[in-house]
């Protein structure tokens, strides 16, 4: 639960592991976000941000799946 939105890491501002932060862009806006919990995420990656913290990296392959599924549906109606 709790409001969390996708954003793209633009810069790493602080690389100290427990204090890792970066600039994250959301559409046209940017904010400094704590990246301590997504050590694997780097500049260019999309992350989900909640309460000032990135809590997960977004997997683009997984993200495409639903659209692929629906596209397939479209060409091959289920009924």
């Amino acid at each position: 639960m709790c409001l969390a939105i996708p954003g793209k890491i633009e810069h790493i501002l602080n690389a100290v592991p427990m204090e890792r932060t970066g600039t994250v862009s959301f559409g046209d806006i940017r904010k400094e976000i704590n990246l301590a919990f997504v050590p694997e995420a780097d500049v260019g990656d999309y992350v989900i941000v909640h309460a000032g913290f990135a809590i997960s990296k977004i997997n683009p392959t997984e993200a495409r799946k639903i659209f692929q599924l629906l596209a397939n549906d479209e060409t091959d109606p289920p009924c």
């Binding site: 639960m1 709790c2 409001l3 969390a4 939105i5 996708p6 793209k8 427990m18 204090e19 959301f26 559409g27 704590n34 301590a36 919990f37 997504v38 050590p39 999309y46 989900i48 909640h50 309460a51 000032g52 913290f53 809590i55 997960s56 977004i58 997997n59 683009p60 997984e62 993200a63 799946k65 639903i66 659209f67 629906l70 549906d73 479209e74 289920p78 009924c79």
Partner: protein, 390 residues
């Protein structure tokens, strides 16, 4: 915005709505556990894309709604003290305590600040070394790592004028409690995607199996929610009760390990009282012994009401507990939209935009029977309306 607006397009929504309609042969009752999903469902009018015999009921997944009155009262007590800067997420300010709310403490002169992140509260503590800065650390598993990090950094940097008043909830025990209830009407769950982002979903298969309910880890965009419903209905129609992950672009089975480690470092599990619902064993978090100097309740010598009191006894007639267990709807409450309104809430679910009552009030659908038949400017609604009538 990427990973957001592509999940809100009329065409794909319509496709999924069709799929749900196609797969549904009988009535089903599904609970979306998370208030964020409740908000999205009502805000985006998603019910309108569902066959009329699919009923969504709204779960307890709103930390604003389930924080016990006792904690609000402790918060009010602390926030009213002269030397304190009290920090909170915005919605908490208007939740009624037993006598008043934080908003009125602020109006009476309490120094209460709204923050976006627990780290903002920690920064305030650094900036005001002569003040005690207290953060009202509410949240589910999603917010727990952030709250934990604030305590962790406070200790690491010796910021001793900082403390947390915690009100931390864990979701799986609440789901189990609802499954155990003999009155329960819930046939399937949409599990909260952001909770699972942190915790993964390894604890769910046993629940699904034990209680025979499908559990679909679901995201927050309209398309996510409809897909979650689709997967859930599909399982129900097929007689399955498994765990599926709709929100795989964000959630992995094992969750966010560094975040889990931070939670474990700072917090330990406890029995927890949920407003309107009552005690649920092992459903809360409290600061570990080593972090007790950062426990506001301890620092200010307040009674540890959290584990001692049972605060289900709401004398106001608020039925939020029943609503959050899926037993009733906001409109079943005699106060709804009368005495209880967002600007003058009686119960917490009328406060938070994730609360079912506020969501219903704010994004109320109009009387369809009247309005749907006499549309003047409607462009795409014919098809949708047709679909809905199938």
């Amino acid at each position: 915005m990427k990973y957001m607006h592509e999940y809100r397009q009329a065409d794909t929504i319509k496709q999924l709505a069709d799929k749900i309609a196609d797969v549904t042969s009988q009535p089903w009752t599904i609970m979306e556990v998370c208030g964020g999903q409740t908000n999205a469902i009502v805000k985006f009018g998603l019910q309108q894309f569902l066959p009329s015999h699919i009923e969504l009921v709204h779960g307890p997944g709103c930390p604003v709604c389930v924080t016990p009155v006792d904690i609000i009262d402790n918060a009010i007590d602390i926030a009213a003290r002269p030397n304190v800067i009290f920090c909170s997420f915005g919605d908490m300010l208007r939740v009624p305590g037993s006598a008043k709310d934080l908003q009125s403490v602020k109006a009476e002169g309490g120094d209460i600040r709204i923050v976006y992140s627990p780290m903002d509260a920690l920064k305030l503590a650094q900036k005001h070394p002569d003040k005690e800065v207290v953060f009202l650390a509410i949240g589910f598993e999603t917010t727990a790592p952030a709250n934990a990090m604030a305590a962790y950094q406070a200790r690491a940097k010796g910021i001793n004028n900082f403390s947390l008043l915690t009100s931390q909830f864990l979701v799986p025990p609440a789901i189990e409690a609802m499954c155990q209830s003999p009155q329960s009407r819930i046939q399937g769950f949409l599990a909260a995607g952001h909770v699972c982002t942190i915790m993964g979903y390894e604890s769910y298969p046993q629940l699904a199996e034990k209680y025979g309910v499908p559990i679909v880890v679901t995201g927050f965009e309209p398309l996510d929610i409809l897909q979650g419903i689709f997967l859930c209905v599909q399982q129900l129609e097929q007689g399955r009760s498994e765990v599926e992950n709709q929100y795989s672009r964000v959630v992995s089975q094992q969750g966010n390990v560094p975040a889990q480690q931070m939670i474990t470092e700072v917090f330990e599990c406890q029995s927890q009282s949920w407003r309107g619902i009552g005690h649920i064993p092992h459903s809360g978090l409290r600061l570990r012994e080593t972090f007790r100097p950062f426990d506001a309740g301890q620092k200010f010598g307040l009674p540890d009401r959290i584990s001692s009191a049972n605060s289900t006894d709401d004398t106001t007639g608020c039925i939020s507990g029943e609503i959050m267990q899926g037993l009733k709807k906001p409109c079943d409450c005699i106060h709804f939209a009368k005495q209880c309104r967002p600007e003058s809430p009686i119960g917490a679910p009328m406060v938070s935009s994730e609360g079912a009552c506020a969501a219903y009030y704010r994004y109320a659908t109009f009387n369809e029977s009247v309005a749907f038949n006499k549309r003047a400017t409607a462009q795409t609604s014919e098809k949708t309306a047709k679909r809905r009538d199938q």
